[in-house]
C-alpha cells in the first residue's frame, strides 16, 4: 500500500497481498475516514465515561445526604436551628445532623454559581446536613414535625432534583453509547462502499486470478487484508489524536465547573485502545461480506 499523505504506512506486503493493484486515493480516503471516525469515537467514549462517573457520583453522594434549610428572620434563625436539630436527633433513621458553616456553604454553592459569590450580601439560609442510616427516615413525618417546631425549616431530601439530573446523566450516557454504535455502523458502511468500489475496479484482476486457479477465499483474503489494515491504521491515528485532544481539555479544577469533567480517569485511559481493534474488526467483517457477495455475483 502506497500512500502520499501517510508515508509511514508504506509497509511492504507479500506477493499474495499485492495481487490486487494498489489504489492510491481510495486507500488514503479509507484511512482518513477511519481516522476521523476513531477520533469521534474517542469523544463519544469520553462522554459515556464522564456521564457514567457523574451519574454514579450523584447517585452515591446524594442518595444518602439530605438537608434542612432554615429561612427565618435573622433574630429567630438560631432558635429555629436549635429546634430543628433537636427534632432531627430524635427522628429514627437519622444518623447525624450538623449545621454547615458559612465556608462549607460557599464551597457547596460554588460549582453552581462560581467562586465570586457575594455571600455577605445574599440572605443565605442556614443549612443542616442530615445523614441517613441505611434504613432512611420517613420524610413526610419529619416534614410535619419540623413544621411544628421550626416553621422556617424546609426538608430537602434531594431526590426532587437528584432524579432528573440522574436521568439526564443516564440519558447522556446512553447517547454516548448510541453514538459509538452509529460510528461503528458508519465505518462499516464506508468500508463496504470502498471495498465494493475496489472489487468493481479490479474485475479484470479477479478474472485473471480465477483463471490461474485462485479460490474465492484467496481473492477475498487479498481485499480483506488490505481493508482491515487500512481501517486499523486509520483508527490508530484517529484514536491517538482523539486521546491527545481529550488529555488537553481544561481540567475540572481549573475551570471550576462540573461540565468539564469530560475525559478519562486512571485505567479508563485503556478503553480508547479498544477503538482500533474494533475498527479492524468492523473493516474485516464489512470487506468479507462485500467480497463474498461480489465474488459470487461475478461468475
Amino acid at each position: 500500500m502506497k500512500t502520499i499523505l501517510l508515508p509511514f504506512l508504506n509497509f511492504s506486503e507479500s506477493t499474495s497481498g499485492r495481487v490486487v493493484p494498489p489504489s492510491g486515493f481510495t486507500a488514503q480516503l479509507t484511512v482518513i475516514t477511519s481516522a476521523a471516525m476513531a477520533f469521534l469515537a474517542v469523544f463519544a467514549l469520553a462522554l459515556s465515561m464522564a456521564t457514567g462517573r457523574l451519574a454514579e457520583r450523584w447517585g452515591n453522594e446524594l442518595a444518602r445526604g439530605s438537608t434542612v434549610r432554615i429561612s427565618a428572620p435573622a433574630e429567630q434563625v438560631d432558635a429555629q436551628v436549635a429546634a430543628a436539630l433537636k427534632v432531627l436527633e430524635t427522628t429514627p433513621g437519622v444518623a447525624a445532623a450538623r449545621l454547615l458553616s458559612e465556608e462549607e456553604e460557599t464551597l457547596l454553592l460554588e460549582p453552581w454559581f462560581g467562586p465570586d459569590l457575594p455571600l455577605d450580601t445574599l440572605p443565605l439560609p442556614a443549612l443542616i446536613d442530615v445523614q441517613e442510616t441505611s434504613d432512611g427516615f420517613d420524610a413526610e413525618g419529619l416534614r410535619l414535625r419540623l413544621a411544628g417546631e421550626a416553621p422556617g425549616a424546609v426538608l430537602d431530601d434531594h431526590s426532587r432534583w437528584r432524579k432528573p439530573l440522574l436521568r439526564a446523566a443516564e440519558r447522556l450516557r446512553f447517547l454516548g453509547v448510541l453514538s459509538l454504535i452509529l460510528i461503528a455502523g458508519v465505518t462499516g458502511g464506508m468500508i463496504t462502499l470502498a471495498a465494493n468500489a475496489a472489487l468493481a475496479a479490479n474485475g479484470q484482476v479477479i478474472r485473471t486470478l480465477r483463471l490461474v486457479g485462485a479460490t474465492d477465499r484467496f481473492i477475498a483474503g487479498a481485499f480483506v487484508r488490505r481493508f482491515t489494515l487500512r481501517g486499523l491504521s486509520g483508527a490508530l491515528i484517529g484514536t491517538f489524536l482523539g486521546m491527545i485532544a481529550v488529555a488537553l481539555l481544561p481540567s475540572a479544577d481549573e475551570a471550576g465547573s462540573f461540565l468539564t469533567g469530560l475525559g478519562f480517569v486512571g485505567a479508563q485511559w485503556l478503553w480508547p485502545l479498544a477503538i482500533p481493534v474494533l475498527a479492524a474488526l468492523v473493516a474485516f467483517a464489512a470487506t468479507r461480506v462485500a467480497a463474498s457477495q461480489t465474488l459470487r455475483r461475478l461468475m
Binding site: T15, L211, G213, A214, T215, R217
Partner: protein, 223 residues
C-alpha cells in the same frame, strides 16, 4: 483426460458448437483449427470450464463439469495450464511474479531457482523484473507459456500461441510445446496456421481437430 459427450455450446441461445463427441487422451497432442470465429477459443474454454456445455456433457479428469462447485473449478485450473489468446497478465506485477502467480494463489512456496530455470527455458532470463506491458508479443506468449506450466499441469491448452509473432518465434514456441508433450503432458494448440501444423507433424504424432459446420471433425494424417 478430457471427454466430450455429444456436447454443444451457444452464446445466448445461438448455437455455435454442436454434437461434439471426442476424447483427449493423456499424453496426446492435438491441433484445433478452423477459420476465425468458428469457436476455437470457445472449445478451449469448455476444456478448462470457463464455460459449461449448454448441451451434452463434458468431463475433465473423469469428473462431470456440470456439478462442480466453485472451489472444485479453482482446483481444476491448477491441473490445466492455459496460454490465453490475450495472455492475461497482472500489469502491476513483474514478469517473474506473473509467472509464479499460480503458485501464489494456491499457497505454494516459490522456489526462485526453479523459477529462473523455467524463465531461461522460455528465454526470458533478461526480463525477470520487467512489467508485462514492456514485453514484445513473442515474449508475452513465452511468459504466458511459462505461467501455464509452472504448476506442472497434466494438460496444456494454448490458444493461438503464435498469433502475433514471427515464424522463427512460432517455431520456438512450438518446440517448447513439443518438449512438454514428450514429458507426458497432454497438449492442445488452437491455431489457424497450417504451416505450423505441418512443421509439428514431422516431429510428433499430432492429431488435428477441425471445426467446420459447427462440428468437430477429427482428421489423422491427411493435410
Amino acid at each position: 483426460m478430457i471427454e466430450f459427450h455429444d456436447a454443444g455450446y451457444g452464446y445466448g441461445g445461438r448455437e455455435l458448437l454442436t454434437e461434439m463427441s471426442l476424447t483427449l487422451a493423456p499424453g496426446s497432442f492435438h491441433f484445433l483449427t478452423g477459420p476465425s470465429g468458428t469457436g476455437k477459443t470457445t472449445f478451449l474454454k469448455l476444456c478448462y470450464r470457463e464455460l459449461q456445455a449448454t448441451a451434452g456433457r463434458v468431463s475433465i479428469f473423469d469428473e462431470d463439469t456440470r456439478g462442480m462447485e466453485r472451489d472444485d473449478v479453482a482446483q481444476l485450473r491448477r491441473r490445466i495450464g492455459v496460454v490465453h489468446q490475450d495472455c492475461q497478465f497482472l500489469d502491476h506485477l513483474s514478469v517473474a511474479e506473473n509467472v509464479a502467480l499460480p503458485l501464489t494463489v494456491s499457497g505454494q512456496p516459490r522456489d526462485d531457482g526453479d523459477l529462473s530455470d523455467l524463465l531461461s527455458w522460455v528465454g526470458l532470463s533478461e526480463q525477470i523484473n520487467a512489467r508485462p506491458p514492456e514485453l514484445s508479443g513473442g515474449e508475452r506468449q513465452r511468459a504466458a507459456l511459462a505461467r501455464a506450466v509452472i504448476m506442472s499441469p497434466d494438460v496444456i491448452l494454448a490458444d493461438e500461441p503464435t498469433g502475433n509473432v514471427d515464424w522463427e518465434m512460432s517455431l520456438r514456441l512450438l518446440q517448447l510445446l513439443i518438449e512438454l508433450n514428450r514429458m507426458g503432458k497432454t497438449v492442445v494448440i488452437a491455431t489457424h496456421d497450417l504451416h505450423l501444423i505441418r512443421q509439428a507433424k514431422s516431429q510428433v504424432a499430432a492429431r488435428v481437430l477441425r471445426i467446420s459446420n459447427r462440428r468437430i471433425q477429427q482428421s489423422g494424417a491427411d493435410l
